[in-house]
């Protein structure tokens, strides 16, 4: 674990990106092989389909101190599993709207459709999202403070 230095470093937000295996993860791979950069604080978790992402994963991320959570899936109609992302779309629409209702900034959550051919889009989306999260700064509203304490010890 890193030690807290006396000098206050600029805050680097943590961003969790869930990517479906068939489109968005491949899109991220294409962004890589095309050398299209995006900030290093974006970390990708591979899931078979965007519909595998349980709202609890999103909440868990925030609990553990993530500052932004983004889900990427195949474009609607192109889902490898035919209908998976249609369910994702409804679930996350309702969840994100609800989180905003609880007072969580709506820019902290996002769903984007990125195909396996859209390396450029993947990179653009991540740059944009990271920029927004940077502007928002640290997520203080939906964070388990004990996790922070553990970390600061």
């Amino acid at each position: 674990m890193q030690e807290v230095t006396e000098q206050k470093k600029e805050y680097v937000p943590t961003i969790v990106a869930f990517c479906c295996n068939w489109c968005s993860y491949a899109g991220a791979d294409l962004a890589g092989s095309s050398r299209l950069t995006y900030p290093a604080n974006v970390k990708i978790i591979r899931v078979p389909c965007s519909c595998r992402v349980n709202p609890m994963f999103v909440l868990k991320a925030f609990q553990r101190g993530a500052d932004g959570v983004i889900l990427c899936g195949c474009h609607p109609g192109d889902c490898h599993y035919v209908t998976g992302n249609y369910y994702t779309r409804r679930r996350m629409s309702l969840l994100f709207s609800f989180l905003n209702y609880m007072g969580i900034e709506k820019e902290r959550t996002r769903v984007e459709w990125v195909s396996a051919a859209e390396g450029a889009k993947f990179s653009a989306v991540m740059n944009d999202f990271a920029k927004k999260i940077n502007e928002l700064g640290e997520n203080k509203r939906l964070q388990d403070l004990r996790v922070k304490e553990e970390r600061d010890e």
Partner: protein, 328 residues
Amino acid sequence: MNKVEELIVKRARELLSSKEVDKVIGWKKGEFYFDPSPAVFTSEEELKDFVYNGFCGANLSKYLVQELKKGGKIAVFLKPCDTYSFNELVKEHRVDKNAVKVIAIECQGKLDIEKIKEKGVSAVTETEENGEEVIVSSLYGSAKFRKEEVLLEKCLTCKSKKFAVADETIVVNEMKETANDRFSGVEELERMSEEERFAFWKGELSKCIRCNACRNVCPACTCVKCVFDNNASGMATKAPADTFEEQMFHIIRAYHVAGRCTDCGECSRVCPQHIPLHLLNRKFIKDINRLYGDFQAGEADEGKNPLIEYTEKDADPTAAVNGEVRHA
């Protein structure tokens, strides 16, 4: 004894004596007039304690889940809003409708003893509904209130006086639909800024003591094992340690019942800390109506809820959250 109660008890007696049913689920006299509680009656003698008065707000549908496991045919008395919960339980195979006789009963809105106490009336001995007025008798005399002053929160914004299911009905007086908009509370919050909303919920939810009353009373919460009790879920928690966990618990609970919640209002009614939990569920209901078209859970005992449905033209989450879209 009021007329409706008379008819209900008479019917319960008939059903038990004719052995048409083995059990009746209703309300039983409590220590006081104002604290009747749900109860199972298996014999005619037991029916002497049966009550149906202004304080029978409890939704009996959920009790069927456990009682049916013991076998036999059951008659249950359901108020209009309770019938929706019943249908939802049938839809999810929690209740076998063939083993149940649903007797739909009149409801003019149920009373909130806390509100009456706040008005300075204690030791209530009887209440009488008289149109838009309620006469409350107590050991110390009687008082008259306008109905909306003393109704339960859930009854102030009653969603419908229609019975979603009924094998038979016991209705003496006409039931009037409530004019109140049940989404006005949600809208009020939506108008606030994100900071204000967060402050509001932080204030409300930090009152939570995780007594699980909301979960235990909720007819949609009938899981054999709740995620919060399941170690494999990664979400298992017992008591709340801080505001985060209260938020987490209530967010997930509201999400899990989204599309299945009939808005029966039991969660708010039973919350000992008076947290307006219905405002959480109604946000989901309101968003579902806005994005996917009007949907009332429990209107029918089959079909899909909006979260296990989709159309190709559904809104994208960003547009949905920004409120830019509306169901055509």
